[in-house]
Amino acid sequence: MAVAEQQSLETPAQKADARVPTVIVDDVHIVYKVYGAGTGKGSATAALGRLLLRRGSPNVRRVHAVKGVTFTAYRGEAIGIIGSNGSGKSTLLRAIAGLLPPERGRVYTDGQPSLLGVNAALMNDLTGATNVILGGLAMGMSREEVRGRYQGIVDFSGINEKGDFISLPMRTYSSGMAARLRFSIAAAKNHDVLMIDEALATGDRAFQRRSEERIRELRKEAGTVFLVSHNNNSIRDTCDRVVWLEKGELLMDGPTDEVIKAYEKHTK
Protein backbone atom coordinates (compact mmCIF):
# COMPACT_ATOMS: atom_id res chain seq x y z
CA MET A 1 0.00 0.00 0.00
CA ALA A 2 2.82 2.37 0.72
CA VAL A 3 3.97 2.19 -2.86
CA ALA A 4 1.49 4.84 -3.87
CA GLU A 5 4.03 7.56 -4.32
CA GLN A 6 6.64 5.40 -5.97
CA GLN A 7 4.89 5.08 -9.28
CA SER A 8 6.38 7.42 -11.79
CA LEU A 9 4.67 8.74 -14.85
CA GLU A 10 5.77 10.54 -17.93
CA THR A 11 4.82 13.82 -16.28
CA PRO A 12 7.33 16.58 -16.97
CA ALA A 13 9.31 17.53 -13.93
CA GLN A 14 8.40 21.20 -14.02
CA LYS A 15 4.73 20.31 -13.93
CA ALA A 16 5.33 17.95 -11.06
CA ASP A 17 6.85 20.76 -9.07
CA ALA A 18 3.58 22.63 -9.28
CA ARG A 19 1.79 19.74 -7.59
CA VAL A 20 1.79 20.35 -3.91
CA PRO A 21 0.32 17.59 -1.80
CA THR A 22 -2.28 18.80 0.70
CA VAL A 23 -3.55 15.52 2.09
CA ILE A 24 -1.56 12.31 2.37
CA VAL A 25 -3.42 9.24 3.54
CA ASP A 26 -0.88 6.59 4.46
CA ASP A 27 -2.17 3.04 4.98
CA VAL A 28 -5.03 4.08 7.21
CA HIS A 29 -7.07 1.54 9.14
CA ILE A 30 -10.06 2.59 11.16
CA VAL A 31 -11.79 0.39 13.67
CA TYR A 32 -15.01 1.34 15.37
CA LYS A 33 -16.21 -0.12 18.61
CA VAL A 34 -19.95 -0.48 18.59
CA TYR A 35 -21.77 -1.08 21.85
CA GLY A 36 -25.04 -2.89 22.14
CA ALA A 37 -24.74 -4.37 18.69
CA GLY A 38 -24.37 -8.00 19.65
CA THR A 39 -26.86 -10.77 19.23
CA GLY A 40 -25.64 -12.56 22.34
CA LYS A 41 -27.66 -13.04 25.49
CA GLY A 42 -28.39 -9.66 26.97
CA SER A 43 -29.52 -10.84 30.38
CA ALA A 44 -27.88 -9.66 33.58
CA THR A 45 -26.73 -13.17 34.57
CA ALA A 46 -25.09 -13.66 31.20
CA ALA A 47 -23.29 -10.34 31.59
CA LEU A 48 -22.12 -11.31 35.08
CA GLY A 49 -20.89 -14.64 33.83
CA ARG A 50 -18.84 -12.94 31.13
CA LEU A 51 -17.43 -10.58 33.71
CA LEU A 52 -16.35 -13.47 35.93
CA LEU A 53 -14.87 -15.45 33.06
CA ARG A 54 -13.13 -12.30 31.82
CA ARG A 55 -14.57 -12.76 28.41
CA GLY A 56 -15.28 -9.79 26.22
CA SER A 57 -18.88 -8.82 25.85
CA PRO A 58 -20.48 -9.92 22.59
CA ASN A 59 -22.29 -6.61 22.80
CA VAL A 60 -19.10 -4.86 21.80
CA ARG A 61 -18.44 -5.39 18.13
CA ARG A 62 -15.37 -4.16 16.35
CA VAL A 63 -16.13 -2.82 12.92
CA HIS A 64 -13.15 -2.57 10.61
CA ALA A 65 -14.52 0.32 8.56
CA VAL A 66 -11.45 1.37 6.57
CA LYS A 67 -8.76 -1.15 5.67
CA GLY A 68 -5.45 0.22 4.59
CA VAL A 69 -6.29 3.10 2.29
CA THR A 70 -3.44 5.07 0.75
CA PHE A 71 -3.61 8.05 -1.58
CA THR A 72 -2.32 11.59 -1.96
CA ALA A 73 -4.41 14.62 -2.78
CA TYR A 74 -2.89 17.73 -4.36
CA ARG A 75 -3.72 21.39 -4.22
CA GLY A 76 -6.44 22.39 -6.63
CA GLU A 77 -7.94 18.95 -6.91
CA ALA A 78 -11.57 18.09 -6.36
CA ILE A 79 -11.81 14.47 -5.40
CA GLY A 80 -15.03 12.51 -5.40
CA ILE A 81 -15.37 9.56 -3.09
CA ILE A 82 -17.80 6.90 -4.26
CA GLY A 83 -18.83 3.46 -3.13
CA SER A 84 -21.93 1.65 -1.95
CA ASN A 85 -23.54 2.38 1.40
CA GLY A 86 -21.37 1.44 4.34
CA SER A 87 -18.19 1.25 2.31
CA GLY A 88 -16.37 3.59 4.70
CA LYS A 89 -16.59 6.87 2.80
CA SER A 90 -17.78 9.08 5.63
CA THR A 91 -15.48 7.34 8.06
CA LEU A 92 -12.52 8.06 5.82
CA LEU A 93 -13.49 11.72 5.64
CA ARG A 94 -13.65 11.91 9.42
CA ALA A 95 -10.19 10.40 9.67
CA ILE A 96 -8.81 12.92 7.18
CA ALA A 97 -10.37 15.67 9.25
CA GLY A 98 -8.60 14.29 12.30
CA LEU A 99 -11.88 13.71 14.10
CA LEU A 100 -11.55 9.96 14.24
CA PRO A 101 -8.13 8.61 15.16
CA PRO A 102 -6.94 5.82 12.85
CA GLU A 103 -6.14 2.47 14.42
CA ARG A 104 -3.09 2.15 12.19
CA GLY A 105 -1.50 4.38 9.59
CA ARG A 106 -1.45 8.14 9.39
CA VAL A 107 -3.08 11.08 7.72
CA TYR A 108 -0.94 14.11 6.94
CA THR A 109 -2.63 17.36 6.06
CA ASP A 110 -1.78 20.91 5.17
CA GLY A 111 -3.75 23.06 7.57
CA GLN A 112 -6.98 21.97 9.15
CA PRO A 113 -9.36 20.03 6.92
CA SER A 114 -12.95 20.57 7.89
CA LEU A 115 -16.17 18.76 7.23
CA LEU A 116 -18.95 20.84 5.81
CA GLY A 117 -21.65 20.47 8.41
CA VAL A 118 -22.63 21.79 11.78
CA ASN A 119 -25.71 19.67 12.40
CA ALA A 120 -24.29 18.18 15.56
CA ALA A 121 -23.72 21.56 17.17
CA LEU A 122 -27.22 22.85 16.65
CA MET A 123 -30.01 22.48 19.15
CA ASN A 124 -33.56 21.96 17.97
CA ASP A 125 -35.12 23.57 21.02
CA LEU A 126 -33.46 26.90 20.35
CA THR A 127 -34.37 29.57 17.87
CA GLY A 128 -32.83 29.72 14.45
CA ALA A 129 -31.06 32.94 15.43
CA THR A 130 -29.36 31.36 18.45
CA ASN A 131 -28.36 28.42 16.31
CA VAL A 132 -26.73 30.64 13.72
CA ILE A 133 -24.55 32.14 16.44
CA LEU A 134 -23.88 28.82 18.15
CA GLY A 135 -23.07 27.08 14.88
CA GLY A 136 -20.74 29.85 13.77
CA LEU A 137 -18.85 29.76 17.05
CA ALA A 138 -18.72 25.97 16.96
CA MET A 139 -17.04 26.09 13.56
CA GLY A 140 -14.36 28.29 15.05
CA MET A 141 -15.43 31.74 13.94
CA SER A 142 -14.79 34.62 16.27
CA ARG A 143 -17.69 36.49 17.83
CA GLU A 144 -17.16 39.46 15.54
CA GLU A 145 -17.07 37.23 12.47
CA VAL A 146 -20.34 35.60 13.47
CA ARG A 147 -21.93 38.97 14.06
CA GLY A 148 -20.70 40.22 10.71
CA ARG A 149 -21.98 37.21 8.79
CA TYR A 150 -25.23 36.73 10.65
CA GLN A 151 -27.43 38.63 8.22
CA GLY A 152 -25.75 36.99 5.25
CA ILE A 153 -26.44 33.54 6.65
CA VAL A 154 -30.09 34.30 7.36
CA ASP A 155 -30.60 35.85 3.94
CA PHE A 156 -28.91 32.97 2.18
CA SER A 157 -31.07 30.40 3.96
CA GLY A 158 -34.20 32.27 2.90
CA ILE A 159 -35.81 31.34 6.22
CA ASN A 160 -37.26 34.79 6.64
CA GLU A 161 -38.79 34.95 3.17
CA LYS A 162 -42.19 34.00 4.52
CA GLY A 163 -42.18 35.90 7.79
CA ASP A 164 -40.04 36.05 10.88
CA PHE A 165 -39.18 32.39 11.29
CA ILE A 166 -35.62 32.85 12.46
CA SER A 167 -36.86 33.76 15.94
CA LEU A 168 -38.79 30.49 16.27
CA PRO A 169 -37.30 27.31 17.72
CA MET A 170 -35.75 25.07 15.07
CA ARG A 171 -38.00 22.18 16.04
CA THR A 172 -40.89 24.09 14.52
CA TYR A 173 -39.19 24.23 11.10
CA SER A 174 -40.08 21.90 8.30
CA SER A 175 -37.30 19.48 7.48
CA GLY A 176 -36.50 21.42 4.33
CA MET A 177 -36.21 24.71 6.20
CA ALA A 178 -33.99 23.18 8.85
CA ALA A 179 -31.75 21.66 6.20
CA ARG A 180 -31.46 25.02 4.46
CA LEU A 181 -30.48 26.80 7.63
CA ARG A 182 -27.93 24.09 8.47
CA PHE A 183 -26.35 24.33 5.07
CA SER A 184 -26.27 28.12 5.21
CA ILE A 185 -24.47 28.09 8.54
CA ALA A 186 -22.02 25.43 7.43
CA ALA A 187 -21.24 27.14 4.13
CA ALA A 188 -20.56 30.49 5.76
CA LYS A 189 -16.97 29.62 6.52
CA ASN A 190 -14.06 29.22 4.12
CA HIS A 191 -11.82 26.19 4.42
CA ASP A 192 -8.35 25.13 3.27
CA VAL A 193 -9.36 21.55 2.74
CA LEU A 194 -13.08 21.19 2.38
CA MET A 195 -15.02 17.98 2.73
CA ILE A 196 -18.62 17.73 1.71
CA ASP A 197 -20.63 14.71 2.72
CA GLU A 198 -23.71 14.49 0.53
CA ALA A 199 -24.87 17.90 1.65
CA LEU A 200 -25.92 19.05 -1.75
CA ALA A 201 -29.42 17.77 -2.23
CA THR A 202 -31.34 19.80 0.31
CA GLY A 203 -34.16 22.28 0.08
CA ASP A 204 -36.23 23.28 -2.88
CA ARG A 205 -35.10 23.92 -6.44
CA ALA A 206 -34.16 27.56 -5.94
CA PHE A 207 -32.18 26.79 -2.84
CA GLN A 208 -30.42 23.87 -4.49
CA ARG A 209 -29.22 26.15 -7.24
CA ARG A 210 -28.02 28.70 -4.72
CA SER A 211 -26.21 26.08 -2.66
CA GLU A 212 -24.50 24.57 -5.68
CA GLU A 213 -23.25 28.02 -6.54
CA ARG A 214 -21.98 28.50 -3.02
CA ILE A 215 -20.19 25.16 -3.14
CA ARG A 216 -18.50 26.24 -6.33
CA GLU A 217 -17.37 29.43 -4.59
CA LEU A 218 -16.08 27.47 -1.62
CA ARG A 219 -14.25 25.19 -4.00
CA LYS A 220 -12.49 28.12 -5.57
CA GLU A 221 -11.30 29.36 -2.20
CA ALA A 222 -10.42 25.96 -0.82
CA GLY A 223 -7.15 24.28 -1.72
CA THR A 224 -8.59 20.81 -2.02
CA VAL A 225 -12.14 19.53 -2.03
CA PHE A 226 -13.49 16.10 -1.14
CA LEU A 227 -17.02 15.23 -2.09
CA VAL A 228 -18.87 12.15 -0.92
CA SER A 229 -21.96 11.48 -2.95
CA HIS A 230 -24.14 8.80 -4.45
CA ASN A 231 -25.11 11.09 -7.23
CA ASN A 232 -22.71 10.31 -10.05
CA ASN A 233 -23.77 13.37 -11.96
CA SER A 234 -22.86 15.78 -9.22
CA ILE A 235 -19.51 14.02 -8.94
CA ARG A 236 -19.00 14.35 -12.71
CA ASP A 237 -19.85 18.03 -12.49
CA THR A 238 -17.51 18.92 -9.69
CA CYS A 239 -14.69 16.39 -9.47
CA ASP A 240 -11.70 15.72 -11.66
CA ARG A 241 -10.53 12.69 -9.74
CA VAL A 242 -12.46 9.90 -8.06
CA VAL A 243 -11.57 7.45 -5.34
CA TRP A 244 -13.70 4.33 -5.19
CA LEU A 245 -14.04 2.60 -1.86
CA GLU A 246 -15.65 -0.77 -1.36
CA LYS A 247 -15.84 -2.58 1.99
CA GLY A 248 -13.27 -0.21 3.38
CA GLU A 249 -10.73 -0.91 0.67
CA LEU A 250 -9.56 1.37 -2.08
CA LEU A 251 -10.72 -0.28 -5.28
CA MET A 252 -9.79 2.35 -7.81
CA ASP A 253 -8.31 5.81 -7.99
CA GLY A 254 -8.15 7.84 -11.15
CA PRO A 255 -9.82 10.33 -13.49
CA THR A 256 -13.53 10.79 -12.93
CA ASP A 257 -14.81 9.30 -16.19
CA GLU A 258 -12.88 6.07 -15.98
CA VAL A 259 -13.65 5.35 -12.36
CA ILE A 260 -17.32 6.21 -12.64
CA LYS A 261 -17.62 4.05 -15.74
CA ALA A 262 -16.12 1.12 -13.90
CA TYR A 263 -18.29 1.84 -10.86
CA GLU A 264 -21.45 1.95 -12.93
CA LYS A 265 -20.53 -1.32 -14.57
CA HIS A 266 -19.98 -2.85 -11.15
CA THR A 267 -23.26 -1.66 -9.70
CA LYS A 268 -25.36 -2.76 -12.66
Binding site: Q7, L9, R19, V20, L100, A138, D240, L250, M252, E258
Partner: protein, 312 residues
Protein backbone atom coordinates in the same frame (compact mmCIF):
# COMPACT_ATOMS: atom_id res chain seq x y z
CA UNK B 1 -11.15 21.63 -13.48
CA UNK B 2 -7.48 21.64 -12.73
CA UNK B 3 -5.65 20.76 -15.86
CA UNK B 4 -2.59 19.73 -13.94
CA UNK B 5 -4.16 16.71 -12.35
CA UNK B 6 -6.00 15.72 -15.49
CA UNK B 7 -2.83 15.39 -17.46
CA UNK B 8 -1.02 13.56 -14.75
CA UNK B 9 -3.86 11.17 -14.27
CA UNK B 10 -3.78 9.84 -17.79
CA UNK B 11 -3.84 6.10 -17.60
CA UNK B 12 -3.66 6.06 -13.86
CA UNK B 13 -6.23 3.45 -13.10
CA UNK B 14 -3.87 1.05 -11.43
CA UNK B 15 -5.76 -0.24 -8.42
CA UNK B 16 -4.82 1.55 -5.25
CA UNK B 17 -1.90 3.30 -6.89
CA UNK B 18 -2.44 6.95 -7.68
CA UNK B 19 0.30 8.70 -9.61
CA UNK B 20 2.94 10.82 -8.02
CA UNK B 21 5.04 13.61 -9.42
CA UNK B 22 8.35 12.50 -10.77
CA UNK B 23 10.25 14.91 -8.55
CA UNK B 24 8.86 13.22 -5.47
CA UNK B 25 9.68 9.78 -6.75
CA UNK B 26 10.59 7.22 -4.19
CA UNK B 27 9.52 9.26 -1.24
CA UNK B 28 7.53 7.42 1.35
CA UNK B 29 4.30 9.11 2.48
CA UNK B 30 5.93 10.35 5.66
CA UNK B 31 8.93 11.74 3.75
CA UNK B 32 6.59 13.42 1.31
CA UNK B 33 4.66 14.91 4.20
CA UNK B 34 7.85 16.19 5.74
CA UNK B 35 9.00 17.69 2.44
CA UNK B 36 5.87 19.78 2.06
CA UNK B 37 5.48 20.55 5.73
CA UNK B 38 2.27 18.61 6.25
CA UNK B 39 1.34 17.73 9.78
CA UNK B 40 -0.37 14.66 11.17
CA UNK B 41 -4.11 15.21 11.13
CA UNK B 42 -5.73 15.12 14.54
CA UNK B 43 -2.45 15.12 16.45
CA UNK B 44 -2.55 16.40 19.99
CA UNK B 45 -1.13 19.92 20.36
CA UNK B 46 1.27 20.81 23.15
CA UNK B 47 -0.18 21.89 26.46
CA UNK B 48 0.51 25.61 25.93
CA UNK B 49 -0.88 25.55 22.39
CA UNK B 50 -3.88 23.58 23.61
CA UNK B 51 -4.58 26.14 26.31
CA UNK B 52 -4.31 28.91 23.74
CA UNK B 53 -6.80 27.16 21.45
CA UNK B 54 -9.12 26.60 24.37
CA UNK B 55 -8.98 30.28 25.27
CA UNK B 56 -9.77 31.10 21.65
CA UNK B 57 -12.94 29.03 22.01
CA UNK B 58 -14.16 30.78 25.15
CA UNK B 59 -17.13 32.37 23.39
CA UNK B 60 -18.17 29.02 22.00
CA UNK B 61 -17.94 27.43 25.45
CA UNK B 62 -20.00 30.20 26.95
CA UNK B 63 -22.59 30.16 24.19
CA UNK B 64 -22.83 26.37 24.30
CA UNK B 65 -23.43 26.40 28.06
CA UNK B 66 -26.02 29.13 27.72
CA UNK B 67 -27.79 27.36 24.87
CA UNK B 68 -27.83 24.05 26.71
CA UNK B 69 -29.28 25.66 29.81
CA UNK B 70 -31.95 27.42 27.77
CA UNK B 71 -32.78 24.25 25.85
CA UNK B 72 -33.16 22.25 29.05
CA UNK B 73 -36.45 23.78 30.04
CA UNK B 74 -38.03 24.88 26.76
CA UNK B 75 -40.50 22.01 26.81
CA UNK B 76 -41.61 22.71 30.39
CA UNK B 77 -44.39 25.19 30.84
CA UNK B 78 -42.71 26.91 33.76
CA UNK B 79 -39.52 27.18 31.76
CA UNK B 80 -36.45 28.59 33.46
CA UNK B 81 -38.37 28.85 36.73
CA UNK B 82 -37.32 25.25 37.29
CA UNK B 83 -33.79 26.46 37.85
CA UNK B 84 -35.06 27.91 41.13
CA UNK B 85 -37.77 25.35 41.85
CA UNK B 86 -35.48 22.33 41.63
CA UNK B 87 -33.13 23.39 44.44
CA UNK B 88 -36.10 24.56 46.54
CA UNK B 89 -37.85 21.21 46.24
CA UNK B 90 -34.61 19.43 46.97
CA UNK B 91 -34.15 21.44 50.13
CA UNK B 92 -37.74 20.71 51.18
CA UNK B 93 -37.33 16.95 50.74
CA UNK B 94 -34.08 16.80 52.68
CA UNK B 95 -35.54 18.96 55.43
CA UNK B 96 -38.50 16.62 55.74
CA UNK B 97 -36.34 13.52 55.95
CA UNK B 98 -33.34 14.66 57.95
CA UNK B 99 -34.70 17.62 59.83
CA UNK B 100 -38.10 16.33 60.83
CA UNK B 101 -38.07 12.52 60.59
CA UNK B 102 -34.54 11.47 61.46
CA UNK B 103 -33.52 14.41 63.54
CA UNK B 104 -29.87 14.92 62.70
CA UNK B 105 -30.52 18.52 63.69
CA UNK B 106 -29.48 17.80 67.29
CA UNK B 107 -26.77 20.16 68.39
CA UNK B 108 -26.87 22.31 65.27
CA UNK B 109 -28.05 25.93 65.53
CA UNK B 110 -30.12 27.13 62.62
CA UNK B 111 -30.39 23.66 61.11
CA UNK B 112 -32.38 24.79 58.08
CA UNK B 113 -29.65 27.15 56.90
CA UNK B 114 -27.03 24.54 57.79
CA UNK B 115 -28.78 21.80 55.80
CA UNK B 116 -29.72 23.88 52.78
CA UNK B 117 -26.20 25.29 52.42
CA UNK B 118 -24.77 21.78 52.61
CA UNK B 119 -27.15 20.43 49.99
CA UNK B 120 -26.67 23.25 47.52
CA UNK B 121 -22.89 23.22 47.77
CA UNK B 122 -22.71 19.46 47.44
CA UNK B 123 -25.18 19.45 44.56
CA UNK B 124 -22.84 21.80 42.71
CA UNK B 125 -20.04 19.24 42.81
CA UNK B 126 -22.39 16.32 42.31
CA UNK B 127 -24.06 17.65 39.20
CA UNK B 128 -20.72 18.79 37.77
CA UNK B 129 -19.45 15.22 38.05
CA UNK B 130 -22.64 13.71 36.68
CA UNK B 131 -22.65 15.95 33.63
CA UNK B 132 -18.89 15.51 33.29
CA UNK B 133 -19.21 11.74 32.90
CA UNK B 134 -21.39 12.26 29.85
CA UNK B 135 -19.58 15.36 28.57
CA UNK B 136 -17.56 13.42 26.00
CA UNK B 137 -19.54 10.19 25.70
CA UNK B 138 -22.82 12.04 25.26
CA UNK B 139 -21.53 14.47 22.66
CA UNK B 140 -19.75 12.13 20.29
CA UNK B 141 -21.74 13.48 17.38
CA UNK B 142 -20.37 16.93 17.96
CA UNK B 143 -16.86 15.66 18.62
CA UNK B 144 -16.89 13.64 15.39
CA UNK B 145 -18.14 16.57 13.35
CA UNK B 146 -16.20 19.65 14.38
CA UNK B 147 -12.80 20.72 15.56
CA UNK B 148 -12.39 22.29 18.93
CA UNK B 149 -10.36 21.48 22.03
CA UNK B 150 -12.37 18.70 23.63
CA UNK B 151 -11.89 20.21 27.08
CA UNK B 152 -14.51 22.73 25.95
CA UNK B 153 -17.15 20.10 26.67
CA UNK B 154 -16.53 19.38 30.38
CA UNK B 155 -15.81 23.07 30.95
CA UNK B 156 -19.08 24.09 29.31
CA UNK B 157 -20.98 21.61 31.42
CA UNK B 158 -19.45 22.81 34.68
CA UNK B 159 -20.18 26.36 33.56
CA UNK B 160 -23.82 25.34 33.26
CA UNK B 161 -23.67 24.04 36.79
CA UNK B 162 -22.06 27.28 37.96
CA UNK B 163 -24.92 29.17 36.42
CA UNK B 164 -27.40 26.85 38.11
CA UNK B 165 -25.56 27.43 41.36
CA UNK B 166 -26.03 31.18 41.03
CA UNK B 167 -29.79 30.55 40.91
CA UNK B 168 -29.53 28.26 43.91
CA UNK B 169 -27.59 30.93 45.74
CA UNK B 170 -30.48 33.37 45.45
CA UNK B 171 -32.75 30.74 46.95
CA UNK B 172 -30.16 29.95 49.60
CA UNK B 173 -29.68 33.56 50.60
CA UNK B 174 -33.44 34.05 50.81
CA UNK B 175 -33.76 30.98 53.04
CA UNK B 176 -30.81 32.01 55.19
CA UNK B 177 -32.27 35.50 55.63
CA UNK B 178 -35.62 34.01 56.60
CA UNK B 179 -34.01 31.89 59.27
CA UNK B 180 -32.76 35.04 60.95
CA UNK B 181 -29.18 35.40 59.73
CA UNK B 182 -28.01 38.98 59.26
CA UNK B 183 -25.89 39.85 56.21
CA UNK B 184 -22.37 40.94 57.08
CA UNK B 185 -18.93 41.23 55.51
CA UNK B 186 -18.23 37.52 56.00
CA UNK B 187 -20.82 36.76 53.31
CA UNK B 188 -18.28 37.97 50.77
CA UNK B 189 -16.13 34.95 51.65
CA UNK B 190 -18.67 32.95 49.68
CA UNK B 191 -17.09 34.25 46.48
CA UNK B 192 -13.59 32.76 46.92
CA UNK B 193 -15.13 29.63 48.39
CA UNK B 194 -17.35 29.06 45.36
CA UNK B 195 -14.63 29.97 42.90
CA UNK B 196 -12.17 27.46 44.30
CA UNK B 197 -14.95 24.89 44.34
CA UNK B 198 -15.74 25.61 40.70
CA UNK B 199 -12.10 25.05 39.71
CA UNK B 200 -12.11 21.82 41.69
CA UNK B 201 -15.36 20.72 40.02
CA UNK B 202 -14.07 21.49 36.56
CA UNK B 203 -10.96 19.40 37.14
CA UNK B 204 -13.04 16.56 38.50
CA UNK B 205 -15.44 16.79 35.57
CA UNK B 206 -12.50 16.53 33.14
CA UNK B 207 -11.18 13.45 34.94
CA UNK B 208 -14.51 11.65 34.84
CA UNK B 209 -15.12 12.85 31.27
CA UNK B 210 -12.00 11.01 30.12
CA UNK B 211 -12.84 7.95 32.20
CA UNK B 212 -16.45 8.03 31.02
CA UNK B 213 -15.43 8.24 27.37
CA UNK B 214 -13.82 4.81 27.65
CA UNK B 215 -15.87 3.17 30.38
CA UNK B 216 -19.43 3.76 29.38
CA UNK B 217 -20.67 1.99 32.50
CA UNK B 218 -19.34 4.76 34.68
CA UNK B 219 -22.45 6.84 34.14
CA UNK B 220 -24.49 4.07 35.76
CA UNK B 221 -22.06 3.63 38.62
CA UNK B 222 -21.55 7.31 39.38
CA UNK B 223 -24.79 8.01 41.28
CA UNK B 224 -23.84 5.42 43.90
CA UNK B 225 -20.34 6.76 44.37
CA UNK B 226 -21.71 10.27 44.63
CA UNK B 227 -24.32 9.28 47.18
CA UNK B 228 -21.67 7.61 49.32
CA UNK B 229 -19.59 10.73 49.02
CA UNK B 230 -22.52 12.89 50.06
CA UNK B 231 -23.26 10.86 53.18
CA UNK B 232 -19.64 11.12 54.31
CA UNK B 233 -19.41 14.85 53.65
CA UNK B 234 -21.50 16.15 56.52
CA UNK B 235 -24.23 17.51 54.31
CA UNK B 236 -27.05 16.76 56.74
CA UNK B 237 -25.12 16.37 59.98
CA UNK B 238 -22.26 18.10 61.71
CA UNK B 239 -18.99 16.23 61.28
CA UNK B 240 -17.74 17.92 64.41
CA UNK B 241 -20.60 16.63 66.57
CA UNK B 242 -20.52 13.17 65.05
CA UNK B 243 -16.81 12.60 65.45
CA UNK B 244 -16.40 14.04 68.94
CA UNK B 245 -15.73 10.54 70.29
CA UNK B 246 -14.14 9.03 67.18
CA UNK B 247 -10.38 8.49 66.76
CA UNK B 248 -8.43 11.48 65.55
CA UNK B 249 -7.59 10.10 62.10
CA UNK B 250 -11.27 9.59 61.26
CA UNK B 251 -11.85 13.24 61.98
CA UNK B 252 -8.88 14.29 59.88
CA UNK B 253 -10.01 12.09 56.98
CA UNK B 254 -13.53 13.45 57.08
CA UNK B 255 -12.27 17.02 57.34
CA UNK B 256 -9.84 16.80 54.45
CA UNK B 257 -12.61 15.60 52.13
CA UNK B 258 -12.89 18.38 49.54
CA UNK B 259 -16.69 18.36 49.56
CA UNK B 260 -16.66 18.86 53.32
CA UNK B 261 -14.08 21.63 52.97
CA UNK B 262 -16.20 23.63 50.53
CA UNK B 263 -19.38 23.03 52.52
CA UNK B 264 -17.65 24.20 55.70
CA UNK B 265 -16.46 27.37 54.02
CA UNK B 266 -19.89 28.25 52.67
CA UNK B 267 -21.50 27.63 56.07
CA UNK B 268 -18.82 29.69 57.74
CA UNK B 269 -19.49 32.54 55.32
CA UNK B 270 -23.26 32.53 55.66
CA UNK B 271 -24.16 31.31 59.12
CA UNK B 272 -23.19 33.32 62.17
CA UNK B 273 -23.26 30.41 64.59
CA UNK B 274 -20.63 28.59 62.52
CA UNK B 275 -17.48 30.26 63.79
CA UNK B 276 -13.89 29.89 62.73
CA UNK B 277 -13.20 27.77 65.81
CA UNK B 278 -15.51 25.13 64.34
CA UNK B 279 -13.64 25.03 61.05
CA UNK B 280 -11.02 22.35 60.58
CA UNK B 281 -7.43 23.66 60.65
CA UNK B 282 -6.00 25.11 57.41
CA UNK B 283 -9.37 24.95 55.71
CA UNK B 284 -8.64 27.76 53.22
CA UNK B 285 -5.34 26.17 52.32
CA UNK B 286 -6.96 22.83 51.67
CA UNK B 287 -9.68 24.51 49.59
CA UNK B 288 -7.03 26.13 47.44
CA UNK B 289 -4.86 23.03 47.33
CA UNK B 290 -7.74 20.83 46.19
CA UNK B 291 -8.67 23.35 43.50
CA UNK B 292 -5.12 23.52 42.17
CA UNK B 293 -4.40 19.81 42.43
CA UNK B 294 -7.62 18.58 40.84
CA UNK B 295 -8.07 21.57 38.53
CA UNK B 296 -4.62 21.46 36.96
CA UNK B 297 -4.21 17.70 37.30
CA UNK B 298 -7.59 17.03 35.72
CA UNK B 299 -6.84 19.39 32.85
CA UNK B 300 -3.55 17.67 32.04
CA UNK B 301 -5.12 14.24 32.44
CA UNK B 302 -7.88 15.18 30.00
CA UNK B 303 -5.49 16.71 27.50
CA UNK B 304 -3.36 13.55 27.41
CA UNK B 305 -6.12 11.67 25.59
CA UNK B 306 -7.24 14.59 23.42
CA UNK B 307 -6.78 12.81 20.08
CA UNK B 308 -8.66 9.70 21.26
CA UNK B 309 -12.06 11.14 22.10
CA UNK B 310 -13.47 10.82 18.59
CA UNK B 311 -13.12 7.05 18.72
CA UNK B 312 -15.66 6.66 21.49
Amino acid sequence: MSTVSETTHNGAVAVGAPPAPAADDGLSPSQLAAKYGLSVSGARPGLAEYTRQLWGRRHFINEFAKARTAAQYTQARLGQLWQVMTPLLNAAVYYLIFGVLIGTRKGVDNFIAFLVTGIFIFTFTQSSVMSGVRAVAGNLGLIRALHFPRASMPIAFTLMQLQQLMMSMFVLIAIVLMTGEVPDASWLLLIPALLTQWVFNTGLAMIVARLGSKMTDLAQLMPFMLRTWMYTSGVMYSIENLTSKAPHFVRVLLDINPAAVYIDLARFALIDSVTSSQLPPHVWISALAWALLVGVGGYIYFWKAEEQYGRG
